[in-house]
């Protein structure tokens, strides 16, 4: 009865093979010794005797004699011609053996072989494109032992890979229930469904097993959920079966990608947290397989970008594990599932953008492609109903890619320098967008344009002291604010424009002596908070192109500080209070009731006046509060702006100081 080959059987035998590997080596070495090897037969004789008389006559001629002299055979020839056919005289035989080649060379003649002459054989001798074919004619086979190659190949490949990666611990690896489960999944879903006599398939299997062992060898506890791995292995099998050799290339590209081991760990730990995955693994495997097949057929260039390929698969498996049926189920009329069609749309759009812009072409690869895909998938998963309409997902993908391309192409971003910095920024930006899937799903263009504006403003503000993390944190906060505040969404593009204008205002105020890059970023953050506090006002201000001059004017006023107490965090706090004030009193500026230069002059005077109070009635800590109060008093009484600033400040300051005293008293 034939033995059924099961993963359990294979893993058990592999344990034994590791144990008895010396013996196995002996067995295999003996088998290798019986491989067919090429050996030459002895030389075939040629029919020279028929030409003997002619040869004797030839060497009697002047030409023949000259040849004899040349080869020092004149004496030998004399002796030879006494009995040229002698086979009892060794000297004559030796001379004859030397003379024949000389004669045939002179006569340009080859004697007929006394052996096979059939020309049919000639074509197969010494020709052929590779050594195996050329030598086939000469191979002497040895008795082969009966064989069971597929099964044994599997055993050997598995055992050898385990020994290679974890040495003697290979058996332990197989005995741990979790890691054993992985290997059995791999055997069941991948190895036993492939052609085990195909060396290239065995190589794939070995690499896949090797990566699996590397990923989990040290810490079996990292294996949280095997189902995701099962889906991956099943997917690779499907792709190979569907595509044949191109499928092998695809699998090889994935398996050999840098970070494949981390990818496997992530699959079990992060991706497959949803228990529902357990029951829909077949569907997931089918859909992800279809997606990879599509890549292979329509976007083969992606195969050369292993990071992108791996990232895309990870994103797809992640979505398959956690998303609703909207991602996996076929679309209307049995069309391609979103998981697959969305990727195709993204890749198509990237291709289109890359044709127009070389910067996009150089950035939109590696982790950027999976980043876009992941963000889009998460957005769709957050609001699947929106994407039930045909073509909606494609339109969404196109807008997302176009928005990202626009962001990268902006002048402010280009000053960031190298392509790799921009690429990193793009990846992080996509990660931020993924954190706000509902915003992305509902307001795709808004989200990307806001992100663009924030990044642009941040880049301007921070200039040389740019810290990517701060920039991204700001972008995250902007998106978070937009998600939390419906009024901000209504601003559409103007919100981004306002932030950018605020950034320009901060930059043009030239605050390098007051605050460092982080401080400037905090100022931009304050502007963002101020805008979020009263979006309609800021929208109108931006419409009137007033945001930049207002921000710049307020900040320049604070620079009047002559003692240096308004620097660092105190400067930021003061500016922040003024920006908040602007949110509350912005309407007065819109209505042009406040003259900005006059306000600026009053604030300068206030700052200078407060300096005189330092050490008498106040300290530096009080400055932000006092400046805010003075500014509010000025704005609330626009008619007074026509007075002399010092008189007005002197008038209002005592009551403000008194308020401060009361506050401190309470404190």
């Amino acid at each position: 009865m034939p033995i059924e080959i099961t993963p359990q059987l294979v893993s058990s035998i592999v344990c034994e093979l590791i144990r008895y590997r010396d013996r196995v080596d002996t067995i295999l070495a003996v088998r290798e010794a019986s491989e067919g090897l090429p050996f030459l037969l002895p030389p075939a004789p040629t029919d020279e005797s028929a030409h003997l008389d002619d040869m004797v006559r030839f060497f009697a001629t002047p030409v023949g004699q000259a040849i004899l002299i040349l080869h020092d055979l004149a004496d030998g020839y004399e002796s030879f011609r006494t009995d040229p056919r002698s086979i009892d005289n060794r000297a004559i035989a030796a001379t004859r053996q030397r003379l024949f080649p000389l004669y045939f060379e002179a006569a340009q003649f080859r004697p007929a072989p006394l052996g096979p002459t059939d020309p049919a054989a000639n074509g197969r001798v010494g020709s052929g494109p590779e050594v195996g074919l050329r030598l086939a004619w000469y191979v002497v086979e040895s008795q082969r032992l009966s064989r069971h190659p597929a099964f044994v190949n599997l055993l050997l490949a598995t055992t050898d890979t385990l020994l290679e990666i974890v040495g003697q611990n290979g058996a332990l690896f197989l005995r741990h229930p979790r890691t054993r489960g992985i290997v059995e999944s791999l055997l069941n879903e991948f190895a036993l469904k492939g052609d085990l006599e195909d060396q290239s398939f065995l190589l794939l299997f070995r690499r896949l097993l090797g990566s699996t062992v590397l990923a989990f060898g040290d810490h079996p506890g990292k294996v949280r959920n095997q189902t995701a791995l099962k889906v991956l292995y099943g997917t690779l099998t499907r792709v190979r079966k569907t595509l044949g050799r191109p499928g092998d290339d695809l699998a090889a590209a994935m398996i050999s990608a840098d970070g494949f081991e981390q990818f496997l760990v992530a699959l079990t730990a992060e991706v497959a947290r949803d228990p529902a995955f357990l029951i829909k693994d077949q569907v997931a495997s089918e859909v992800v397989g279809a997606m990879l097949t599509r890549i292979c057929r329509d976007f083969p260039l992606l195969l050369n970008d292993s990071k992108a390929l791996l990232g895309v698969v990870e994103a797809a498996l992640g979505a398959a594990a956690t998303s609703t049926a909207a991602i996996l189920d076929p679309g209307p009329g049995g069309s391609e599932p979103l998981l697959s069609s969305l990727l195709a749309a993204i890749l198509r759009e990237i291709g289109t953008c890359a044709q127009k812009d070389t910067l996009v072409a150089s950035i939109a690869n590696g982790q950027v492609v999976p980043g876009i895909y992941r963000a889009a998938l998460m957005a769709i998963a957050s609001n699947p109903l929106r994407f039930t309409k045909p073509g909606e997902a494609n339109r969404f993908a196109a807008e997302l890619v176009a928005g990202l391309a626009k962001m990268l192409a902006s002048q402010e971003m280009k000053v960031l320098g190298s392509t790799s910095t921009l690429q990193l920024l793009a990846i992080e930006s996509l990660r931020i967008l993924s954190r706000h899937p509902r915003l992305l799903a509902g307001h795709n263009v808004f989200a990307t344009s806001l992100l663009t504006s924030v990044l642009q403003a941040g880049t301007l503000v921070m200039a040389d002291g740019l810290e990517r993390e701060d920039l991204l944190e700001l972008a995250d906060q902007a998106l978070f604010a937009a998600t939390a505040n419906a009024a901000l969404l209504r601003l559409e593009t103007r919100l981004g424009e306002a932030i950018l204008a605020a950034g320009r205002g901060i930059t043009s105020a030239n605050l390098n002596e007051q605050v460092d890059a982080k401080g400037r970023m905090a100022l931009l953050n304050a502007a963002l908070r101020a805008i979020s506090a009263n979006p309609p006002v800021w929208s109108r201000l931006q419409e009137l192109r007033m945001v930049e001059p207002l921000v710049r004017g307020l900040l320049l006023s604070l620079k009047a500080d002559g003692v240096g107490l308004l620097t660092g965090t105190r400067f930021v706090e003061t500016a922040s209070r003024l920006l908040q004030l602007l949110s509350r009193r912005g309407q007065l500026f819109i209505e042009k009731k406040i003259d900005l230069p006059a306000l600026q002059a009053f604030l300068v005077m206030a700052v200078k006046r407060l300096e005189r109070e330092l050490g008498r009635t106040i300290d530096g800590e009080a400055l932000p509060y006092l400046i805010e109060r003075i500014a509010a008093a000025i704005i609330d009484a626009p008619a007074r702006l026509k007075q002399r600033p010092d008189a007005f400040i002197d008038e209002i300051l005592p009551s403000i100081l008194a308020d401060l005293g009361r506050l401190w008293g309470k404190g």
Binding site: E32, A33, P45, R96
Partner: protein
């Protein structure tokens, strides 16, 4: 779970006797090293053919005009021999695969005309022959080559010597010895030659011996062509038992594409000798040579 599986795990291990080879450097270092030697040998054999056999003869033998090792630079099969030595140092000399390598080394010397070196190896080859027996008693390629190496060496040596009655006698003796060993399955203690379809050691030796007979006929034909058909018939008779029924029925003009490449040269020789022998039965030409 493990125990019942272990019951048939060990028998299954023996299935690995039946193995298809793959590269497993960690699991099977000796096998991998041996495979590397074979690969190097095949590569150098191919190179040797290209350099020493400019116009391949029709019969797959080495051309008489080939200068062999003399014109071959660097030393023929140097890399293979180096790897064989390394293998012996690492894995010892008393294993079966080491015995196989001794045979391979001997065959290298034989083919490249390093006959002195081949002679030096004779004691090792005699010992290797004992080490290369099959469990079922069948004599396979390497064992047959080792057992008949002395005769092979004698024949190859005689071919390179001046064509005298003495060299013809030695050729005939070498061929006779090989024939005797191959045809002695019933002799007590003699190993059964394996099936010709699965092991070509015997047919290789038989054809080598038949070529030796062809040389005898050629040498003697310097004086009289009368006995040449007899020697051809003797050679033909040596090859015949190692051909399949179908192969024996194949007449001249055979479509060589229909048979495997490795058998063509044997069939070619068989047909050629059959043509030379004509209807002439084997008579006492051997006896006449001894006289």
């Amino acid at each position: 779970m493990l125990k019942p599986i272990r019951r048939y795990a060990l028998p299954l291990l023996f299935l690995s006797l039946l193995l298809q080879s793959i590269s497993c450097a960690r699991l099977t270092p000796r096998t991998t090293a041996l495979r590397q030697i074979h690969q190097t040998y095949r590569g150098e054999f191919d190179q040797y053919l290209q350099l020493t056999v400019p116009a391949p003869p029709a019969d797959g033998t080495m051309s008489l005009r080939s200068k062999g090792a003399e014109n071959f630079a660097p030393a023929p099969f140097a890399a293979t021999l180096r790897e064989i030595r390394a293998y012996r140092i690492k894995y010892g000399e008393d294993s079966r695969e080491s015995a196989h390598l001794t045979v391979l080394e001997g065959m290298i010397y034989l083919q490249t005309g390093q006959l002195g070196m081949a002679r030096l190896l004779l004691p090792d080859l005699r010992q290797a022959a004992d080490n290369l027996g099959q469990g079922n008693g069948a004599a396979v390629r390497d064992r047959l080559l080792a057992q008949n190496f002395e005769s092979l060496l004698a024949g190859w040596t005689a071919i390179r010597e001046p064509e005298t009655r003495d060299s013809a006698r030695r050729l005939a003796e070498a061929a006779g010895s090989i024939g005797t060993r191959l045809a002695a399955p019933d002799r007590p203690g003699a190993a059964q030659v394996s099936e010709p379809e699965v092991d070509e050691g015997a047919i290789y030796l038989a054809t080598s011996a038949a070529i030796f007979y062809a040389w005898v006929g050629k040498i003697l034909s310097l004086q009289t062509r009368e006995d040449r058909p007899c020697w051809c018939a003797k050679g033909m008779a040596l090859i015949a038992p190692h051909l399949s029924q179908a192969e024996r029925r194949i007449a001249r003009g055979i479509d060589y594409q229909s048979i495997s490449a490795g058998r063509i040269r044997y069939l070619g020789w068989y047909n050629s000798l059959a043509l030379c022998a004509g209807e002439r039965p084997i008579d006492n030409c051997h006896e006449r040579l001894k006289q």
